[in-house]
């Protein structure tokens, strides 16, 4: 069976890969490109552990075919930090101890970053609904929500100072 040759952009880098038509973008990221930061928790779009940005939209990589990535831009958890500098959301997750086992964390960070790029002043309820597609079984969500709200507050503070 012939594999598909796909050209795409991942975390800013032009990337080519071969995939089977059935393979999802998550399969491709993990198994073909070894970008294993996106996790498979369910493969049905119910846990959010594979959250990535596809053409600037938050999606579950498990619900995108690898072939669909042709000509599009994909951003994964691996592209969130800039060099040595962690993204504000990553920093806040660490400061608030918003992770225990950490397997859901990449998905939460990609999702929370997407929220704060649209809205730097979300209410607690808005944060909770935005993140409702990201399951966490360890933390009870409390510290995650606090981390995101605090990141938003710091973002607003920076904007005011700028």
């Amino acid at each position: 069976m012939a594999k598909l040759h796909i050209t795409t952009t991942i975390n800013g880098d032009a990337t080519e890969f071969l995939c089977e038509p059935e393979q999802t973008l998550l399969d491709v990221l993990r198994d073909e490109l070894q970008l294993t930061g996106s996790k498979e928790g369910c493969a049905s779009g119910d846990c959010g552990a594979c959250s990535v940005m596809l053409d600037g939209r938050l999606v579950c990589a498990c619900l995108v075919l690898g072939a669909e990535a042709a000509g599009r831009t994909v951003e994964t958890i691996e592209g969130v930090a800039r060099g040595e500098e962690l993204h504000l959301v990553q920093r806040k997750f660490l400061e608030h101890h918003a992770l225990q086992c950490g397997v859901c964390t990449p998905g939460f960070i990609v999702a929370a970053k997407a929220l704060l790029e649209r809205d730097t002043d979300p209410s607690e309820t808005e944060v909770r609904y935005w993140l409702a597609g990201n399951l966490c079984r360890c933390t009870g969500y409390d510290k995650i929500v606090r981390a995101v709200l605090d990141a938003a507050a710091e973002m607003r503070g920076e904007e005011a100072g700028a």
């Binding site: 059935e22 049905s44 119910d46 938050l58 999606v59 075919l65 072939a67 597609g133």
Partner: protein, 289 residues
């Protein structure tokens, strides 16, 4: 089993040709949020998947005849970001925005939601209540079909081989109109509707209901347009008696099943409750425009 083929045509005609050639083994990929789950679980094993998202027509929202034409693969998130559409048909937009998580919203579409033909699809009752139509493209050209005529049973549609839904038309509506969609799920998010209710209505200047549509989801093999429920509202000022009649009519129309998501008794009972709540929201919206 054979290996699946993937195609992403760039014209509607090419998509139709591919689908016609693929026959029963072909599947349309719109948002993919249902199809990929079915692929993964082995529920479907298509020989061909046709990604329609490269067709400009299926990705656009455009004003048309005082209403809107919405591409079949426009995502829920895009619908929610369209202020004018949301102002005209807030219930339809909220039904699309209720599907799944933020991540699902980035992909799931009204076209996919309709053609997946789940009895519990959220947008379908809202679209039926809105008297929406859809444009179907196929080997014999295009036709305009009422949304309520697409689904014929769980997982079954009236689409002929080679046909697919290109876009929806949400009509213009008179002043003092409003719509709403409500569903019941056990959690606050991430569930499939146990009951869904779409209500659309128009009031006159005195606040009396001049026109109404009520549609129920997840209580029968397909979403239902419940005329008796609409009739319970028309000509009334949506007083308590009308609301009671609405709930009774909605409950009477239910033909649900017991399953992992809810019981017959629960669905029937909650259909009436949600019909009242949705009608109140629709009426509030109608009064404010």
């Amino acid at each position: 089993m054979d290996y699946m083929r993937f195609e992403a045509p760039s014209s509607v005609d090419a998509a139709v040709a591919l689908l016609a050639e693929g026959g029963g083994g072909a599947r349309v990929l719109a948002g993919g949020t249902d199809l990929l789950v079915q692929l993964r679980s082995g529920m479907v094993e298509p020989s061909l998947v046709v990604d329609i998202k490269r067709l400009p027509e299926v990705r656009e929202i455009a004003a048309e005849d005082g209403g809107f034409r919405v591409g079949a693969a426009v995502s829920g998130a895009e619908l929610g970001e369209h202020a004018e559409l949301k102002a005209l048909w807030p219930g339809v937009v909220e039904s699309a925005e209720l599907i799944g998580s933020t991540q699902i919203q980035g992909r799931a579409s009204m076209g996919g939601n309709l053609c997946n033909a789940s009895p519990a699809a959220d947008t379908v009752p809202a679209l039926i209540a809105a008297r929406a139509t859809c444009t179907v493209a196929g080997p014999r050209g295009r036709r305009e079909v009422a949304v309520e005529d697409i689904c014929t049973g769980p997982g079954r549609t009236s689409l002929a081989p080679g046909e697919f839904v290109v876009s929806f038309h949400l009509p213009a509506r008179p002043a003092h109109s409003g719509d709403a969609y409500l569903r019941f799920i056990p959690r606050t998010e991430m569930d499939i509707a146990v009951v869904g209710v779409g209500v659309s209505l128009t009031l006159d200047l005195q606040g009396a209901c001049t026109q109404a549509e009520v549609s129920l989801g997840a209580v029968a093999p397909t979403a239902l347009r419940v005329r008796e429920a609409a009739e319970a509202l028309v000509g009334t000022r949506l007083d308590d008696a009308a609301m009671e009649a609405l709930a009774r009519a909605a409950a009477a129309a239910c033909r649900p099943i017991d399953d992992k998501r809810g019981t017959v008794a629960f669905r029937t009972r909650v259909a009436g409750v949600l019909a009242q709540r949705a009608a109140r929201i629709a009426a509030d919206r109608a009064r404010s425009n």
